[in-house]
Subunit: 315 residues, 2 copies
C-alpha cells in the first residue's frame, strides 16, 4: 500500500496526542507482518519438527514488529510501496528474533523470561535454542535473496540491501555491540563504550531497517541521508528508553524481569548519567529525529509518530 | 585462473596414484583461499578486538578449505574462472567455520579439541564463541552480497547463489541436520534418520559449494545436474569417511579425540551397518560420483581427484 494511512489528515501536522491513530497504525502493520511471517516461516508440521517449533515459538511471541514497520514506513516515506518490501521487512524481524534468542542464553544475558513467556532455551534446551537462532539468521538471508516482488528487474538494489543488513547485523554492527556488552558486564564502562554498545547492539538494525525500505523503494540520496540520521537518533533513544524501563518499568507490562541491568552491573545510560538526564536525552534525540524528517511530506507522518512512541512506550 | 592446473596431462585420465598432483593442487588452492580470507576477515587490530580474535582463531585454524576449493573447481569444470568466485568460496568457508564453532559448544557436541587446538569456547568462553559463530555466518552473507568481481552485470546470478547457499545452510539444510543429530544422541537411530543427518549436516554445504561455483561461472543445466549429483555422492562419502575416522583414526593426525561418536551413542554409519560395509559404501559412492562427471572434460580432473581424496584422507 502507498501512503494512504491518514487520508483525512494530509498536509496536517500529526501531534503527540494522536496516540489512537498510532495504535491503530501499529496494530494494522503488525497484522500484515504477522500474516507474512506465517507464510515465510515453516509450519509446525515441517521437518525437523523440533527445530521448526523452537523457531516459531520465538518468532510468534508477540513482538512489536518495529523493524519491519520501520522498513515499510521508510518505503512509503520516499513514495514507494510498502507491500513490495515485505519479504525484507520480515527478514529483519527474523534477524532481530535470532539475536534475542542468543542474547537470552545462559552464556550471554541468562534470561528466563521474554515477553511474558519462558525464553527459548528454557523451553527447548540450550542446543536447540542456539540452532533456532542460527536457522532464523540464515533463513532471513534465504528469504531476502529469493527476491520475488522486491527484486523486480533490479537485483543490484536488493544486493545492496542484503549487504547493508548483513553489515549492520554482523561483526561491525549488532554482533559487535553484543560482544562489547558481554565483555563490559561487571566492569566500569565509560560513555564512549556505552555509546558503542547502544549504537551497535540496537540502533544499527533499526537504522538499516529504514535504509533498506528506502533503498528498495528507490529513495534518493537526500532522502536516504535524512532517514539514516533519523534512524541513528531513534535507535539510540530506543535503547535509552529500554534502559529506563529496566529501572522503573512494570514487570507485568514488560513481560520480563526489571532491575536486571543494575544487578548485573550492565552498562546503561541511567547508571552512567542518572535517570532524569537519561529521560531528557531520549526526548532530545526524538526532537532531533523529527528535524531530520523536516524535508519529508505527510507520507513520513507514521515515522514522526513512531519517534514519539519510542520514548513513550511502556514495554 | 582457468583450468590450467594439469597442462601436461590434458586428455589423460587422472589415476588414483596422482597423490602428489592432488597434494600440490590442494596446497596451492588452500594458499589462495587463505590469502583471500586474510583480506576478507577483519584483523586482530579491528574493533571489537576480542570478537575479531575469536573469529580469526577459528577461521585460521588450519582447515582444509575443501568447500572453497570445490566451489573454485566447479567454476573451472564448466569453463569459468576460479578467481571470480573467490569471495563466495571464502564465504562458504566462513559458514563452515561458524557451524564448527557452534557444534563444539557444550550444549551441542561439547568438544574440547578441534584440529589439534582447544575449541573456540574453551579459549574465549561460551558467550564469545556463540557470537564469533554468529559474526562469521553474518559476514559470509555480507561478503557475498558485496559482489565485487562476481556480480559483474549479473546481480540475479549472485542472488540465486546467495539464496541456494542460505537454503543449504539453514533450517532445511545444515542447521536442520544438526538439530536432528542433536535430538538423536543416545537414541536408536534408523537408517532413514541417519541418511537425513548426513545429507543435511554435511553433504548440503559441500553440494551447494559446487553449485555456487558452477552457477556463477555460467554453467548450463546439464552441467549443474552432473555437479549436483557428484556433490550428493561425495558429500555422503565424506561423512561416512568422517565416521570411520572417528572409529579408527589417529588422534595425532586427526587433531581431535576419536571414539567420541560411540561414547555418545551418536548416529553413525559404522554403528548402523558396520565398519567394513561402511568402507565399501563410501568407495561405491566415489565411483558413482566419478560417473556423474563422465560428460565433463579434463577441466573436471581436480574434482575427480578430490572424490578419491575424500575417502582416502586421514584427517
Amino acid at each position: 500500500m502507498k501512503c494512504a494511512l491518514f487520508p483525512s489528515r494530509r498536509r496536517k501536522k500529526v501531534r503527540s496526542k494522536d496516540n489512537d491513530a498510532l495504535k491503530k497504525y501499529l496494530e494494522a502493520r503488525k497484522r500484515i507482518v504477522d500474516e507474512a511471517l506465517k507464510q515465510y516461516v515453516p509450519g509446525d508440521d515441517a521437518y525437523p519438527p523440533s527445530l521448526c517449533k523452537a523457531v516459531r515459538y520465538s518468532i510468534f511471541a508477540g513482538g512489536k514488529r518495529l523493524r519491519p514497520i520501520l522498513c515499510m514506513a521508510a518505503a512509503e516515506a520516499v513514495g514507494g510501496d510498502s507491500d513490495a518490501v515485505l519479504p525484507v521487512a520480515c527478514a529483519l524481524e527474523m534477524i532481530h528474533t535470532y539475536s534475542l534468542i542468543h542474547d537470552d542464553l545462559p552464556a550471554m544475558d541468562d534470561d528466563e523470561y521474554r515477553r511474558g513467556r519462558l525464553t527459548n532455551h528454557k523451553v527447548f534446551g540450550e542446543g536447540m535454542a542456539i540452532l533456532a537462532g542460527d536457522a532464523l539468521l540464515t533463513e532471513a538471508f534465504c528469504l531476502m535473496a529469493s527476491g520475488g516482488a522486491v527484486a523486480g528487474g533490479d537485483g543490484k538494489r536488493l544486493l545492496t540491501v542484503i549487504h547493508e543488513i548483513a553489515h549492520s547485523a554482523g561483526l561491525f554492527g549488532m554482533v559487535g555491540g553484543q560482544a562489547v556488552d558481554l565483555e563490559s558486564e561487571g566492569k566500569e564502562v565509560d560513555s564512549e563504550t556505552l555509546h558503542y554498545i547502544h549504537t551497535h547492539k540496537t540502533a544499527a538494525l533499526l537504522q538499516v531497517s529504514l535504509r533498506a525500505g528506502a533503498i528498495l523503494a528507490g529513495g534518493g540520496p537526500q532522502e536516504l541521508t535524512g532517514l539514516t540520521q533519523y534512524g541513528a537518533k531513534i535507535g539510540l533513544a530506543f535503547q535509552i528508553a529500554d534502559d529506563i524501563l529496566d529501572v522503573e518499568g512494570d514487570v507485568e507490562v514488560l513481560g520480563k524481569e526489571t532491575g536486571c541491568d543494575g544487578e548485573r552491573k550492565k552498562a546503561t545510560y541511567p547508571a552512567l548519567i542518572g535517570l532524569e538526564p537519561s529521560r531528557t536525552r531520549a526526548r532530545e534525540l526524538v526532537d532531533e529525529a523529527l528535524t531530520d524528517l523536516s524535508s519529508f511530506d505527510e507520507c513520513a507522518d507514521p515515522l514522526r509518530m513512531i519517534a514519539r512512541f519510542i520514548v513513550d512506550r511502556t514495554s
